[in-house]
Amino acid sequence: MAMTMVEKILSLKVGKKVSPGEHVVAPVDLVYAHDGTAPLAIEVMERLGIRELRGRTAFTIDHASPPPNVDSASIHLRMRDFASRWGVRLFDVGEGICHQVLPESGMVKPWDLVVGADSHTVTLGALGALAIGVGSTDAAVAMITGSIWLRVPESIALSVNGELRSYVTAKDVILEMIGRLGSDGANYKAVEFLGSTVESMSVDSRMVLANMSVEMGAKAGLVPTDDKTIAWLSERVQGEIRGIRPDDGANYSSLHEFSAPEIKPNVSLPGNVDEVVPVEEVEGEEVQLVFIGSCSGGRFEDFLSAARIMRGRRRSEGTRCIAVPASKEVYGRLVASGLIGTLLEFGCLIGPPTCGPCIGAHMGLAGPGEVVVSTSTRNFPGRMGSPDSRVYLASPLTAAASAATGRLTDPGRFLA
């Protein structure tokens, strides 16, 4: 029978054909946690009395990193200590955000089953892995036993075809999808991104799609692999890399089609990721803070996009602009390509690789009443600082255009 990518991966893992609704116990290829979720996982593992860790494991220190206070510094100490005692691979302060650093370091490949103690673990689906976000106890048990129980999810096909306008990005595409499906439109299910638009996207762009699939409630978001994926991985992964695609006629629980040329630059309105409207409908509001960064919008391509607008311009005086690369590798490419100069001349504050203001822990929070345009993942009240601040989620182009004018601005005004 024809299978979706998720069904193929889980069938391979458990050694028999599985179908949606079935519960399986599957071996994991990688389990990870970060400084927000690892401490609780460590406590659970210690309380359970670990003797060995069967899973391939990693910790990243990326959320409150470098530590903005002594509590965080103490948590980091605890993680370093645990990691060195139990052989957990540690990505310390300055390496970057887990969902970016782990694939960059070659720890993820197609057909892998990855479990991460973070909801945006789904990002790795862009590389053809089945990557699922869980809580600390699930991660702890997976680290100890090397396996996890799962319900085989139904899959939804999200198909985009045609050419995007020159000032519309993967972020606008995923916001369009979230707006249509709603914040629970894919709850308990997996989504698979198909169609010619996805095929023509770079790996960075595909990661933006997979990353935000969790904002529709998805358990995983996968993209079929191709030569671009293999090229991206072969610089990093040891050994053979086998691509993955869904079978023709695979059984999707629903199919949603999107026409790329019709997608406009989008924003999520403050408070709800799934309240999506074209930027042109809400243009003009004054913006005090622009953030370009996070596991959704802090990759090299995001800064390359932003620079299309920033080059030769300066940010509006009343608008702070914070740029935070998602990893050390991205940072290095900003330096090597000279983009860092463009960002600086535009008037960006450039932070070290970290989640930074995305989770409102440090490095440029929003004050009461302030309006933010952010390339990050979520805009719940208080997410990036004061509960009275208002966050619009947008593409790096919309973010840069808004920083340039000081008001919420459609990037088409600069690039159309």
């Binding site: 206070n69 809580g135 409630g217």
Partner: protein, 165 residues
């Protein structure tokens, strides 16, 4: 297993950030210290008003947002006996079971402070104040055992193996 308590009526899309703001995770040390911030931005005074056994009655997609297990653990720590919602976000649902917090998927009518009773084995939520009742599909046996033991850790401690081991 039965849970009985007063209803806290909430709407759709209650996020993990509503339950416990993410930014506190990095400035407040232990779960015990965090308990006073539960629903901090959503329900003023919640930490003082909540009583052991109280039942949350919510709409769609309860627990939407981050994977932080703190959300489920803290609801249990402050004494919430069960969460009844028309649907749950996936990771929250899983976390709740792992930490032994009963989560029930049912469409239930209730007003703030109505007296509620949830019978997990029989799959019935009763609104005693309004004398109405609602059915739901009870947990499969493996999940019910985790809830009864009080979470995966307790299960392991008592039985020396994991439920799906």
């Amino acid at each position: 297993m039965r849970v009985c308590g007063r209803a806290w009526k909430l709407g759709d899309d209650v996020t993990t950030d509503h339950i416990i703001p993410g930014r506190l995770k990095y400035s407040v040390g232990s779960l015990e210290e965090m308990r006073k911030y539960v629903f901090h931005d959503l329900i003023p005074g919640f930490a003082e008003l909540v009583r052991s056994g109280d039942i949350i009655v919510a709409g769609r997609n309860f627990g939407y947002g981050s994977s932080r297990e703190h959300a489920a653990r803290l609801l249990k720590i402050v004494g919430i006996g069960a969460v009844v919602a028309s649907s749950f976000a996936r990771i929250f649902y899983r976390n709740a079971i792992n930490v032994g917090l009963p989560v029930v998927e049912a469409d239930v009518e209730a007003d703030q402070w109505d007296l509620m009773e949830v019978d997990l084995e029989r799959g019935i939520v009763e609104n005693k104040t309004k004398a109405s009742s609602f059915k739901f599909k009870p947990f499969p046996r493996e999940i019910m055992e985790i809830i009864v033991e009080g979470g995966v850790e307790e299960y392991f401690r008592k039985r020396g193996r994991f439920p799906w081991g």
